[in-house]
């Protein structure tokens, strides 16, 4: 007698499966560094310490989590519409470019309206770029994963061209960079004298946008329409929903989030657009979104976790001599584990140990035994 799936199974799975996958990834990472001659327990301890060990670690983690929340939304929102777009890195880079470029075109920008304007410029560019991938999918049937990644590479080429060419600051000799943003345009720290230290307003913006996205998807008609398009495109068309427009809208909103992340990287962190902006934040955002199962409500804690891993990376490098790519390896393991855990969805609680019930014999000559 097997128990059927209970109501709480789904919610429990939604928490247990990702946690299990992350534990498996950490285990695999430990084994991996063990083969390289490093003690796994030390690595795990340093991961925790570098991420959540003290106030400085927390600051580092929060700093890194802020853009991840936004780049994860860049994958999650289109995913809710049924579209797998991974062009967040390109949108972020273009957003950074746009943010740095606006003062060139409009030198009179200053103060809070100026800050809003430069961030909006970044968001606009990013949104247009990813919306292009969505439009290509709807109107030309081009696979959006491939097209968004190609657009991402093109965006990076455009970024490098402009930063090292027409927009280059003559004073930046060693490292090509645009002219630094004016002081009044920069985004400052939330509470510079408190424990939060250097953590900037981008964290609040990221968290607020995740909450807004969650509210939109869960409680509004248009959000629901988007989820229908994502859940069953055919039904959406039958019901008469404007699928094309909704998909492009989702891509545009997602791209705008990634562009905003790029703008924040310029306005709050680096103060100018240069190669530091290309730190793989878009790619990590993909992972964050998948681990959060594209649910905006789950993105902030997952972004915090992966921001923690990234923050711990430099500690691993200094104390254990591991290459800085060790965080990339951990992320890779986590991604593979998360995808594998999907196979257990719906079946986790149905795995039972063999029982000692008497075997049920088949009917013999048509008569039940």
């Amino acid at each position: 007698m097997s128990a059927g799936p209970k109501g709480w199974h789904a919610s429990a799975e939604a928490v247990l499966l990702p946690l299990g996958a992350l534990a498996a990834a950490l285990l695999a990472f430990g084994l991996f560094v063990w083969f390289g001659g490093v003690s796994p327990t030390e690595a795990w301890a340093l991961l925790f310490k570098g991420a959540f060990g003290d106030a400085f670690a927390w600051q580092n983690t929060l700093q890194r989590a802020a853009p991840l929340m936004l780049t994860a939304l860049a994958v999650a929102l289109p995913a809710q519409a049924g579209v797998t777009v991974i062009g967040g890195e390109g949108a972020l880079v273009l957003g950074a470019l746009g943010c740095a470029a606006l003062p060139y075109l409009w030198p009179g920008l200053a103060g809070t309206p100026g800050s809003v304007a430069v961030l909006a410029a970044g968001a606009l560019l990013g949104g247009l770029w990813v919306a292009l991938a969505g439009a290509l999918r709807q109107w030309r049937g081009v696979n959006e994963t491939i097209s968004s990644l190609l657009l991402s590479y093109i965006a990076i080429a455009l970024f490098k061209h402009f930063v090292e060419g027409p927009m280059r600051d003559p004073a930046s000799l060693n490292k090509p960079s645009t002219r630094p943003l004016a002081e009044s345009l920069r985004i400052g720290a939330i509470a510079p004298d408190s424990l939060l230290g250097d953590v900037h307003w981008g964290l609040v913006i990221g968290a607020v946008l995740c909450v807004l996205a969650g509210l939109w998807l869960s409680f509004t008609a248009s959000g629901f329409a988007l989820r229908v398009v994502g859940g069953n495109a055919r039904t959406a068309r039958l019901v008469g929903l404007p699928s094309d427009a909704l998909v492009v809208l989702a891509c545009a909103l997602g791209g705008a989030c990634a562009g905003l992340a790029g703008g924040l990287e310029v306005a709050a962190v680096h103060t100018a657009a240069n190669a530091s902006v290309m730190a793989g934040l878009g790619y990590t955002g993909i992972l964050v979104s998948f681990v959060a199962r594209h649910n905006p409500w789950a993105i902030p804690p997952v972004a915090l976790l992966f921001g923690g891993f990234a923050a711990a990376g430099s500690l691993l490098q200094r104390r254990l001599g591991l290459p800085d790519a060790s965080v990339l390896v951990l992320q890779g393991f986590a991604f593979v584990a998360i995808l594998g855990s999907e196979a257990l969805r719906g079946r986790l609680f149905l795995l039972r140990l063999p029982t000692l019930a008497p075997p049920r014999l088949a009917a013999v000559a048509g008569k039940p035994v």
């Binding site: 991974i86 590479y153 093109i154 790519a325 990339l328």
Partner: protein
């Protein structure tokens, strides 16, 4: 520009077409085999980087370049095997797994390849097809990678094998109609895993040609999107191995325009010229795909057409 400069430029593009096109060729052939069985492997970008590192490491540590090439192929097969196994689990999406493998392959390659950035490893020999000329420019432009003829042979073998052998038929059947394959007793997952692994081996050879041919070295910027372009190439080539060869040469030429212009002395806008392969790929995808009808020649089980 003088006539001489134009000729130099043209030669540089032609030579570059083969040099840059060799990894495209191998990766697209590997992806062609994988997609013929009905599975799409976007992770070949990660496979390319990882096998380039592994091939370089193997050649450097063993002193033999062909051992390095073999190791590159095997490492590509191993990563692709992971992709195949993961995708054979229920409810796991091919595309998501490909993305995961892109990141994992690159991460592993950068991690394990840290000690390999400085040293020099034995190189793949080059076949001097330009020996008839006395000009060093022509000679260097026409010196091609010894793996390229192997790639051409492989394209022919794949084309013939898919069309004329029993295994080719099984692969195509699994790719076109998994129901028919199952009815005949073939394990759909088994065939797909085998095709993906073999495709990964072939793609791994492409990685070897990246890092073990002039200017052979391993660094973290070795490949940026070439594996992805090769995946898109397969669509453009309508899943025909011979057309993959032509497409690889075409895209190799596009990729060689930037360095060729630099060698002639034009240096402005290098990033834009280097972005030409991506733009070309995108334009070709837009021209090739259509939302209404499925692309002619696409394996039915591929699920790329919405």
């Amino acid at each position: 520009m003088t006539a001489d400069a134009w000729i130099d430029l043209l030669l540089a593009i032609v030579g570059g077409a083969v040099r840059v096109g060799t990894p495209f060729l191998f990766v697209s052939l590997g992806e062609c085999l994988t997609e013929k069985s009905g599975r799409i492997n976007l992770g070949l970008e990660g496979v390319l980087v990882f096998s380039a590192m592994a091939g370089f490491g193997g050649a450097y540590l063993s002193g033999s370049v062909w051992l390095g090439v073999l190791l590159a192929g095997c490492s590509g097969a191993a990563l692709a095997l992971l992709h195949g196994l993961l995708c054979s689990l229920p409810r796991v999406s091919d595309i998501a797994t490909g993305i995961a493998l892109m990141l994992l392959g690159a991460g592993l390659a950068f991690y394990l390849g840290k000690p390999l950035i400085q040293p020099q490893a034995p190189q793949i020999p080059s076949l001097g097809l330009g020996a008839w000329s006395s000009s060093p420019g022509v000679q260097s432009a026409l010196a091609i990678n010894a793996l390229f003829p192997l790639g051409v042979v492989l394209a022919g073998a794949l084309a013939w094998g898919l069309a004329n052998t029993r295994w080719g038929l099984v692969v195509r059947m699994v790719g076109d109609s998994s129901d028919a394959a199952r009815a005949l007793g073939h394990s759909v997952n088994g065939v797909r895993i085998a095709a993906t692994t073999a495709g990964g081996f072939i793609a791994g050879l492409g990685g070897a040609s990246l890092s073990l041919y002039y200017p052979g070295s391993w660094n973290e910027g070795l490949s940026s999107g070439q594996g992805l372009i090769a995946v898109a190439l397969v669509i453009f080539a309508r899943w025909h191995p011979w057309r993959c060869l032509g497409a690889a040469l075409l895209f190799g030429g596009a990729g060689a325009v930037g360095p060729a212009l630099q060698s002639v002395g034009i240096s402005g806008g290098t990033y834009l010229f280097n972005a030409m392969p991506y733009v070309l790929t995108l334009l070709i995808l837009v021209a090739t795909c259509s939302p209404q009808r499925s692309i002619k020649g696409a394996p039915m089980e591929l699920g790329m057409n919405r």
